[in-house]
């Protein structure tokens, strides 16, 4: 009996590693082939951006329970930091994107004390923080630095193909991290902390450190996505990268697929963004109605997300 349980546990690890590798290979193949099958590369680029955002949000919300309404703040910070580095340094654009990710993580360090809050208090404080960032960058008095309400232009590095592949790399990093969170001891610790932080602390886990790491990783991912997004569009106003729609989409997409899983945010973001685009093109007058109705149905009938349909049938979703 002892041997059987131990064996199950040991064999689960190679299975999850194999599943992770297969998933990353499939994602790579899909997004390498997609531009050759579908002419609108910018739509595929945007889908990847939202998968990254949904996955980045999943790293925080799915594994710690903190719901960041102001998640777009990290995305916008990454976009601005990347652009400012492009404009004011001679660094290669990839280094600027990395700098954008680090800048978002730095913002995460500054906002770290928000993790002392819980539930709606955390969400609202995070939302307020992202609004503060928005008002700072869009302030006309800072126009010399941030472009103020007129935004920034980095046309000199505009390269839709390179930024597309860079977003794919960020997507793979985000999904790889989600797979790590899902299958590692660190992820197990996060799940324990999410369920009962007091008991987790008594189990010897440093609750504050674990939460902070998840928060910073999540911020880093959003910052990288923001940096690549800025590179991909090359001209943007503050509203374009700090719009609350990005936070809402990331939350809805992740929830639609299923948080706490690796595949959920990918499925949610892909399906809903394609639907979003289809409705917007075919019946724009009913767009808000149909989309809103779908979200209400999701909350009412599938609060655990689309993948919970499989989990209810005893299928272990990765």
């Amino acid at each position: 009996m002892p041997n059987s349980t131990s064996t199950q546990n040991v064999s689960a690890k190679p299975n999850r590693l194999r599943t992770s590798i297969i998933l990353l290979v499939v994602l790579t193949a899909v997004f390498l082939v997609a531009p050759h099958l579908y002419a609108n590369q910018s739509l595929v680029f945007t889908i990847m951006t939202f998968i990254v955002l949904a996955q980045g949000l999943n790293l925080l919300y799915g594994f710690t329970g903190y719901l960041p309404f102001g998640y777009v703040g990290f995305f916008g910070s990454g976009a601005y930091a990347t652009s400012l580095l492009v404009l004011h340094t001679h660094l290669p654009v990839l280094a600027c994107v990395a700098g954008g990710g680090l800048a978002a993580a730095l913002i995460g360090v500054i906002l770290g004390p928000l993790l002392r809050l819980s539930g709606a208090y955390f969400s609202i404080a995070n939302l307020a923080a992202s609004q503060i960032l928005f008002f700072v960058v869009s302030n006309p008095d800072l126009a010399d630095i941030t472009g103020g309400p007129y935004g920034l232009k980095i046309e000199q590095v505009y390269d839709p193909t390179a930024s597309y592949y860079c977003m794919l790399v960020v997507l793979l990093i985000a999904c790889g991290l989600a797979a790590y969170f899902r299958s590692s001891g660190f992820g197990m610790a996060l799940r324990a902390i999410k369920q009962d932080p007091v008991s987790a602390a008594m189990a010897g886990l440093n609750v504050v450190r674990h939460r902070l790491i998840a928060w910073l990783v999540s911020a880093l991912i959003a910052g990288l996505a923001g940096g690549v997004y800025a590179w991909g569009i090359s001209v943007f106003y503050p509203d374009a990268v700090f719009t609350l729609d990005f936070s809402v989409f990331a939350i809805v997409f992740a929830l639609f697929g299923g948080v706490g899983t690796v595949i959920g945010p990918i499925v949610g973001a892909s399906l809903l963004y394609i639907l979003y685009s289809a409705i917007g093109i075919s019946t724009p007058q009913y767009f808000q109605l149909i989309y809103g109705g779908l979200i209400v149905l999701l909350v009412l009938f599938l609060p655990g997300g689309l993948l919970s349909l499989l989990q209810r049938r005893g299928i272990n979703v990765f």
Binding site: P2, M188, Q195, D196, S199, A203, G204
Partner: protein, 235 residues
């Protein structure tokens, strides 16, 4: 090096104007089991909350193995060798029983081969793959104990583990606690079941309104006028 494992010196705790611990002083030796008894609201659980780090003492010292630990957070106390169970079991409900133990084992780098013996000790080996949330409350209490054991505690704070158990189940728990004590694990057992305490302890501390009223054998406590007054009211 002191032979005492734990010492509380002049510990005070209040919640607003309410004094819940008032000059609590006692010591625990390695392998010793002491009982902590008193009426509801006497400060028993607060005492173990202060020792485990869930609450900070307002005044006084909590010393463990000769070191002051007043300001240490819970996880550091856990790694030093202080652990506890909870009156209402706090298991990780969406994880299996085995994973509940594994979380603690990983945190303190306990070899995975040690997990099954712990599950065996607490009698949950055959339920190792069951979700903790689907276990009975009594099984969850045992799992709480198993999670604590996975951190290799030197001092275990056991909060009302016997509540709701049948006499046969109490017998099993008493045997288990004595077995752990024989391995050198000291215990402070908060319990209302005096027969159960009488079986496993040689010394009890009686609290009343946050004050220590008595320290000594349980049989002597029942003759102490202050203890009698605390439990059934002053004449």
């Amino acid at each position: 090096m002191s032979s005492e494992l734990l010492r509380l010196v002049g510990v005070h705790k209040h919640f607003g104007a309410q004094i819940v611990l008032n000059d609590v002083n006692f010591a625990v030796s390695p392998g010793e089991i002491i009982g902590l008894v008193g009426p509801n609201g006497s400060g028993k659980t607060t005492t173990i909350n202060v020792i485990s780090g869930l609450l900070q003492a307002d005044e006084g010292e909590v010393d463990f193995q000769g070191h002051k630990i007043n300001r240490l957070p819970m996880h550091q106390r856990s790694r030093l060798g202080i652990n506890r169970t909870f009156q209402v079991p706090k298991v990780f409900r969406d994880m299996t029983a085995r994973e509940n133990i594994e979380v603690a084992a990983r945190a303190v780098h306990l070899p995975v081969t040690e997990i099954d013996p712990i599950l065996h000790d607490i009698g949950l080996l055959e339920l190792a793959s069951r979700q903790a949330g689907s276990l009975t409350v009594n099984q969850q209490k045992l799992l709480d104990l198993g999670r604590a054991l996975a951190t290799r505690p030197k001092l275990l704070l056991v909060d009302e583990i016997g509540a709701g158990l049948s006499p046969a189940e109490l017998h099993v728990i008493a045997d288990l606690l004595q077995k752990l004590s024989a391995r050198g694990i000291a215990m402070i057992v908060v319990e209302h079941l005096l027969e159960f305490l009488n079986r496993i302890t040689e010394r009890v501390i009686v609290l009343g309104a946050g004050r220590m009223l008595f320290e000594g054998p349980l049989s002597a406590a029942s003759r102490d006028p202050e203890v009698i007054a605390a439990f059934i009211g002053a004449a």
